[in-house]
């Protein structure tokens, strides 16, 4: 259980995030929705301990994140950032093996067991055939799947993803969405997914946390929280939210922007 209790945080000035509380239950898949600048990324960074809250606290089980080393934290929580731009042209296998870092001693090199974990992670993300390729030569969708594989190689029970589909085309968006759903279902990986993509959230998330202006507007089961009213409040957009039989989940069709 990952818990944020009345967390507030500011980058020097006013709070970017004010009095935010969330509970991430084991095995759940939680979406974090909200307009640009609402604090989604900041919330993720607080949940993984990259940022420390100014007020309130974040706990993993009953331990505050502040009391854990980076190495300990990295064995429990892995993160997939929006985009990854390495300064050097690592191979896909090297990128994925970097996920093993928190499990290795200071001078230890990866052994057969680590390679096995990496290969399974590549398998799970459908990127085994890319193992010897250079990361920089991959397409956007392939890169994102490799980064997810690298996070999986960390062998954590929890995965935080920051807009993992933001720079992907429709085909890759659906591919990543089904990958996340499958990992959550089959590997029991707990996930928190910050996204702008309401239909992605509708298709994979069990529950949603909806944010605006650094505060939580609503939280709960996806079918209860994701309504036309929520979309209007978040984005000033009039939208039809309906259950789509063929897709098997709620869909959001934006109709028009409401002025004023």
């Amino acid at each position: 259980m990952l818990t944020a209790e009345s967390v507030s945080f500011g980058y020097g000035g006013a709070f970017t995030l004010t009095d935010v509380s969330v509970e991430i239950a084991p095995g759940s898949l939680t979406g974090v929705l909200g307009p640009n600048g609402c604090g989604k990324t900041t919330l993720l960074k607080l949940l993984c301990g990259v940022l420390r809250p100014d007020r309130g606290r974040v706990r993993l089980g009953d331990r505050p994140l502040g009391s854990m080393t980076r190495r300990e934290l990295a064995r429990h929580i892995a993160v997939v950032p929006q985009e990854t731009h390495p300064a050097f042209d690592y191979s896909v296998m090297e990128m994925v093996l970097m996920g093993r870092h928190p499990h290795l001693g200071a001078f230890e090199l990866e052994g057969p067991a680590d390679f096995e974990v990496a290969r399974q992670a590549l398998d799970a993300t459908g990127t085994s055939h890319l193992a010897d390729r250079r990361y920089m030569t991959l397409s956007g969708g392939e890169k994102q799947r490799v980064i997810i594989a690298s996070a999986l190689a960390q062998a954590t029970e929890m995965l935080l993803l920051d807009e993992p589909t933001a720079s992907l085309d429709l085909g890759y968006q659906l591919e990543v969405a089904s990958l996340l759903a499958r990992l959550n279902r089959e590997r029991k990986v707990t996930m928190v997914l910050a996204t702008h993509d309401l239909n992605l959230a509708a298709s994979v998330c069990h529950q949603l946390v909806v944010m605006r202006g650094g505060r939580i507007l609503a939280a709960g089961a996806t079918r209860e929280v994701l309504t036309g009213k929520t979309v209007r409040e978040l984005y000033d957009v009039d939208a039809d939210v309906q259950f789509h039989d063929r897709a098997g989940h709620l869909t959001v069709v934006p109709v028009k922007r409401i002025d004023g």
Binding site: K45, C48, V50, T69, R70, R71, L73, A74, R75, I77, A78, V79, P81, T84, H85, P86, A87, F88, D89, Y90, S91, E94, M95, M98, G99, H101, P102, L104, A106, F107, L109, E110, F115, Q154
Partner: protein, 332 residues
């Protein structure tokens, strides 16, 4: 897999470095033989080959090996720290600080009688330390990771500022002092004896010792600071260690032999072309290849226009300048 590659690369590059260090003292105006130089049956006082090998040429070759090795390794660390493959050990102002110290000692040392600081190596070391301390103080905030952007800006600005001060001191210098300054800035591996080498060893060994802890964290850091943090790297500590050890290595090299350019960028890139980009392989391979590279460049500097010597910094620049441009063109 990583272990096998690491072992074979270290053996190959180690053999290259060792070969360069043994072959280079044999070549020069007087031809000597390796067998006779190591012939223990002749007393050292009578063995001309051994005297030329060990006394006349070995200090210079060893200096080349140490300076080449530290600059190349420091280049690797700086490039990973700044997340910029075009960074060099001199990017953050260490060498310009050292140069300012040296120029001050050359110009005012004799008249001011400031004791040990009148010695050019000590003054340049002091300059390097001051420059690193300023950049470090500007770029670090307690408890936060270093901003590489601030680090880079602080380094570039300090480089420009110290260069201006060097010009000003040059303007105040007389002809002989100005000439000595220019010669120092070209870099010179001819340190004369083993004493300066021994004096630099503690700093060199300390920085190499710290480098040994850095490769895997540097791999992650060069992927992104936040990513490194979530993969379990203590980013702030890695950055501080990388900055301090690379600065120390650079300061040791520059105070020993002057600012010899391009070693810190040419060698890491050549090595990456041959062995890939994993820092666990690149860092030791660069340290070894850097030694062979600078010893080789110095050999060219000594022999190409013999009996006239070309400054070794000119040779490394002749090799490095076009190579650097080729890298830039290739990247874009």
């Amino acid at each position: 897999m990583v272990r096998a590659r690491l072992t074979s690369v270290v053996c190959a590059y180690g053999a290259l470095a060792l070969g360069a260090c043994l072959a280079a003292p044999l070549i020069g105006s007087t031809h000597i033989s390796l067998a006779r130089a190591f012939d223990r049956s002749v007393p050292f006082a009578d063995n001309v080959d051994a005297q030329i090998f060990f006394v006349a040429r070995m200090p210079r070759v060893l200096t080349g090996a140490i300076v080449g090795s530290t600059l190349a390794a420091a280049g690797v660390v700086m490039q990973a720290l700044l997340g910029n493959p075009l960074a060099t050990p001199f990017t953050l102002g260490v060498s310009t600080g050292a140069a300012l110290g040296a120029v001050l000692a050359i110009t005012f040392g004799s008249s001011l009688a400031v004791g040990v600081l009148a010695s050019v190596p000590l003054a340049s070391l002091a300059g390097a330390v001051v420059a690193s301390a300023i950049v470090y103080a500007l770029a670090t905030r307690p408890g936060r990771p270093i901003s590489t952007m601030v680090l880079l800006l602080a380094g570039v600005t300090l480089n420009a500022f110290f260069s201006a001060l060097i010009l000003f001191v040059q303007y105040a210098a007389d002809f002989t002092q100005a000439y000595r300054t220019i010669r120092w800035l070209m870099g010179d591996l001819d340190v004369g004896s083993f004493a300066p080498i021994v004096a630099s060893l503690p700093m060199v060994l300390l920085s190499l010792g710290i480098f040994a802890f850095l490769p895997r964290p540097l791999n992650l850091l060069s992927v992104g600071a936040d990513t490194a943090a979530t993969r379990g790297v203590d980013v702030g500590r890695t950055q501080r260690l990388a900055f301090l050890s690379a600065s120390l290595a650079t300061a040791a090299a520059v105070s020993l032999a002057g600012p010899i350019g391009f070693v810190g960028i040419v060698v890491p890139h050549l090595v990456r072309l041959m062995v890939g980009v994993d820092h666990r392989v690149v860092l030791p391979a660069s340290a070894l290849f850097g030694a062979a590279f600078l010893v080789g460049c110095d050999l060219v500097a000594r022999t190409v226009l013999a009996p006239v010597e070309v400054p070794v910094g000119v040779v490394t620049a002749m090799v490095g300048g076009p190579f650097f441009l080729w890298l830039l063109v290739r990247k874009s």
